[in-house]
């Protein structure tokens, strides 16, 4: 097989990332040069990575190559199939946008922070992601996985002076290592069965797995990859760690590092473990629903812009898992066509979420860059000084809310369609889960829309809050270009969905053995269908065109009608109350108040009001208001777990008394046990 173009271009991309890492370190004393080298080489690496990914998708057959390492069980072997190419494409789109954005963003680091070290970690992150998405050897995968976790730790704690940052980093480190441990154990189990660390050997050995082994491997991998993807209840590190990183890194962490978990699940569950039983798929589906609903409910209560976005990542990972779970259920139920539609829904949402979440984080980064705060309650009116950032953020907000005609709508539509089909395709009582999941998805979508009305309106519309007097400026041009590229992708993937979905044909053939992708397209390529003969169909492009066509008469009528009177600018009417000021504007906390009360069972909100007054309580001089919601998972699950662990550790201290005789005895007992184990394995 001719592996020339893909393997070579891929290697070039890896080379640029490696060289960029070293070059950044080497030039750290010249910040301006270092910045250009860092961003330039990352952009070059991303471009080559993107070209390789496009070629890999077009090629149709997997490209495999391997370089022996001389170490047993370990080889530099790569498998560039459709799944790998797809995730590499996602990475390339994000990496290119973030590199362009960083030209401007890193400028404020000059003279203050070590750009060289930042660039080193940044490149290593991209490199390790590339390896994870492409590795075909368990050890190579694990090395990439571990490097990714360590480098991400370095980037999360980049502002290490801050106590909050260090705590978040520590939490992230602990969770990342629980997840690495689970993945390692999972691979160990597979290696024991297959006798090799090669992914291809797992595939062939999958038939020899007993159902118990398969279940154990599934649980281990689901735990490991689930922690990395931030699914509920393993999400606690995510809203702590993502917001404290530099914004361009937050964008990558939420955009693509979480997707490494999704990649792992897709690779292992669909490709390596054989056909999983249906409870596995249902578990993925249920965890997905829980993550989606709870993620968005917690997001609604945030008024820290970046934490809000981090919670939305949990929600969207949930939506992806709904599709993935449905695909697993359909595969074991013998509906490869339906499984293919569900997998397309999951994968397309993976790409879409990567793009719009990256865009939103970059937008939040621009806001933070210009105003110096992430607290929405201190922002407002930014659409005037920052029109382009506001517009890009609006595109991202509409896309993430799943509204037509942008890309988020298309993947959610496909998810709905596969859930609808799930009711007919499965038997028994479990099938009721599919429509219920559909209604929960509807709840999620509507709550996400509410949350992004809040996020956009409180940050960008109305009057500036908090009386910030310093003039706010628009972000530098390179940052706008980076965001513009992602906003363009949101629109293009939305309007051109029917064209783009063809690329999933190969992936389905390789993973599920059924070629769906092109027969999802009807009406001469204009509309996207659910894959069944008389099922639903939708066309984002026709919707967009129709909206534009209907807009013309509306604009004409309004402008003709408006000729008689000039439109005037005047003070807001506000029910006749004069003197609108930022003090009586609606706040983010106020906006989400009805939902806080409706879902108070979940939030357990606590509030405290203290009024200071001279004469009468009706004329307070100052009011102190405090409100918080209960961090349920931390309090109910993790704190007891931590206490248990600490108590256990305290008891274990008894055997570590400091006596050398006791230690010698331990060594002796261990030796005897090992010898016995060696004799009677």
């Amino acid at each position: 097989m001719n592996t020339f173009p893909v393997a070579t271009i891929f290697t070039l991309s890896v080379a640029f990332y490696s060289a960029g890492a070293l070059a950044s370190l080497a030039t750290w004393q010249k910040p301006a040069l270092c910045r250009y080298l860092c961003c330039g080489s990352a952009l070059a690496g991303a471009s080559f990575g993107g070209v390789a990914a496009v070629l890999g998708i077009l090629q149709g057959t997997p490209v495999r190559w391997s370089v022996s390492s001389g170490i047993p069980l370990f080889a530099y072997s790569f498998n560039y199939d459709a799944l790998a190419a797809f995730f590499n494409l996602t990475l390339a789109i994000l990496a290119s946008a973030v590199s362009i954005y960083s030209f401007g963003y890193l400028k404020e680091f000059e003279g203050k922070r070590n750009i060289g070290f930042f660039g080193f970690l940044f490149h290593l992150l991209l490199l390790s992601l590339t390896i994870v998405f492409t590795a075909a050897n368990a050890f190579l995968f694990l090395i990439g996985w571990e490097v990714m976790a360590l480098v991400a730790y370095g980037l999360v704690t980049f502002y290490h002076e801050d106590r909050e940052t260090r705590r978040a980093g520590l939490l992230y480190m602990v969770m990342a290592h629980i997840d690495s441990g689970c993945v390692l154990l999972g691979f160990a189990l597979l290696m024991q069965v297959s006798g090799s660390a090669d992914f291809a050997s797992f595939r062939t050995a999958a038939v020899h797995l007993s159902s118990g082994q398969q279940a154990a491997a599934f649980v281990l991998f689901f735990l490991g990859f689930g922690i990395k993807a931030g699914v509920i209840p393993f999400h606690i590190w995510l809203p702590a760690a993502h917001p404290v990183a530099p914004s361009n890194i937050s964008a990558l962490l939420s955009g693509i590092v979480l997707k490494a978990g999704i990649y792992g699940m897709a690779r292992i569950f669909l490709d390596e473990l054989g056909v999983l039983p249906s409870w596995a798929g249902l578990l993925v589906l249920i965890v997905g629903v829980a993550s989606a609903v709870l993620g968005v409910l917690y997001a609604l209560m945030e008024h820290d812009l970046k934490r809000l976005l981090a919670y939305h990542s949990i929600e969207n990972i949930g939506i992806i898992l709904i599709g993935l779970g449905a695909a697993l259920v359909f595969r074991v139920a013998g509906h490869p066509q339906l499984a293919a539609v569900a997998l397309i829904a999951a994968m397309f949402h993976t790409l879409n979420h990567a793009i719009f979440k990256c865009l939103l984080f970059l937008g939040a980064g621009s806001v933070l860059h210009s105003t110096g705060t992430r607290n929405m309650e201190e922002l407002g009116g930014l659409i005037r000084p920052m029109p382009v950032t506001a517009f890009c953020f609006l595109i991202g907000a509409v896309a993430i809310s799943g509204l037509p005609p942008l890309n988020g709508f298309v993947s959610e539509w496909l998810t709905y369609q596969s859930l609808l089909a799930g009711f007919g395709a499965t038997g028994g009582l479990t099938r009721i889960l599919f429509p219920l999941a559909g209604s929960m998805l509807a709840l999620t979508g509507a709550l996400a829309a509410a949350c992004f009305v809040k996020a956009f309106a409180i940050t960008f519309l109305a009057l500036p809050r908090g009386g910030k007097s310093s003039p706010v400026h628009e972000a530098p041009r390179s940052m706008l270009v980076g965001m513009g590229w992602l906003a363009f992708s949101c629109v293009a993937l939305g309007l051109g969905a029917t064209w783009f979905l063809r690329i999933f044909g190969t992936m389905n053939e390789q993973l599920l053995g059924s070629r769906v992708g092109t027969n999802l397209i009807t009406a001469r390529g204009w509309a996207l269908s659910a894959g069944t003969p008389h099922g639903g169909s939708v066309s984002t492009s026709v919707i967009a065109i129709a909206l534009l066509f209907l807009l013309i008469p509306a604009v004409v009528v309004v402008s003709i009608a408006g000729r008689r009177f000039a439109r005037r600018r005047g003070p807001a009417w506000d029910c006749g109350l004069p003197g609108l000021s930022e003090e009586n504007e609606y706040t983010a906390t106020a906006f989400s108040k009805p939902l806080r009360m409706i879902f108070s069972v979940l939030y357990q909100p606590r509030r405290e009001i203290q009024a200071v007054f001279d004469v009468s309580p009706y004329f307070p001089k100052a009011i102190h208001f405090e409100s918080e919601i209960e961090p349920t998972f931390e309090k109910r699950l993790y704190v007891p777990l931590k206490d248990l662990l600490l108590r256990f550790a305290t008891q274990m201290r008894a055997i570590q008394g400091g006596s050398i005789h006791a230690y010698l005895a331990y060594i002796f007992v261990t030796l005897v046990l090992l010898l016995l184990f060696g004799v009677h394995p």
């Binding site: 037509p404 309106a457 009057l463 939708v538």
Partner: protein, 313 residues
Amino acid sequence: MTVLLAKAGLQLLLLLLVAPLLSGIIKTLKARLQTRRGPDILQSYRDILKLFRKGMVIPETASWIFSATPYIVFVTAVLVGLMIPMAATDAPLSLFGGVLAVVYLLALGRFFLALGGLDAGSSFGGLGSSREMTISAIAEPAMMLAIFTVALAASSTNLSEMAKVAVSQSWKFLAPSQMLAFAALFIVLIAETGRIPVDNPATHLELTMIHEAMILEYSGPYLALIEYGSSIKQLVLMTLVVNTFFPFGLSSDWTLRGLGVGLLFYFTKMLLLACLIVLVETTNAKLRLFRVPELLMVSFIFGALALISTFLF
């Protein structure tokens, strides 16, 4: 292509003409039931025309979002109207957007309406936006369950396909699942069109208004567009309910005779649904905002029961 455009043109005309009439009929009926004389049924047309001819004041604090919102609200409502079957089973744009697109296009309009409410910076606008988004969010799962129940019968989300299946079994609405789904969707309809007991379309009392609070800052042609868009949205949602559950008289083609009969049936069905809404509005008081979730929970339970009964009966 030309046939498609001709159908779309016809249905567009129907939408634009009937929507204000429906609002007028509901207002008049409601007044009569409360032993008032009320406005005559053409008053809604006059209101919209009058607003189009007025000047408008745009708040100094507002941005371009404020000006874009009326267009988006109006255009999404009209587009949704072209996707649903009115007099004939075959809706002009049904191939390009089914029931999910209808729900999400209306959500797009609502998204911008809520932004427009917050844009001026007045606290009333924010209050309205916050409540509107809250109520629509908790109405959504119930609506989707009911829609799924109906869509499962046709195994399609295409509204024309759903209508065709419904026509072939006209008396199916007597099935328990359909009746429960109708009950669920009726409650959602009340919530989505902002009627008593969820919202009061006639109020300007700050503590009770939802929709009106959001559009408080709008005037002149912009207000006309929003009001027109809202009345089209109401027409669309009511049409969706009547034609999904009571598909009597839906014409299978676009011939003159078929359309004539179809329209006759359509108007009768809509009038009956309007009477039902008026009856509910007159016999109920507006609920406190925090009682509304309970009502919508009832709707959700109806939806879930409907779904379960599809495979029990």
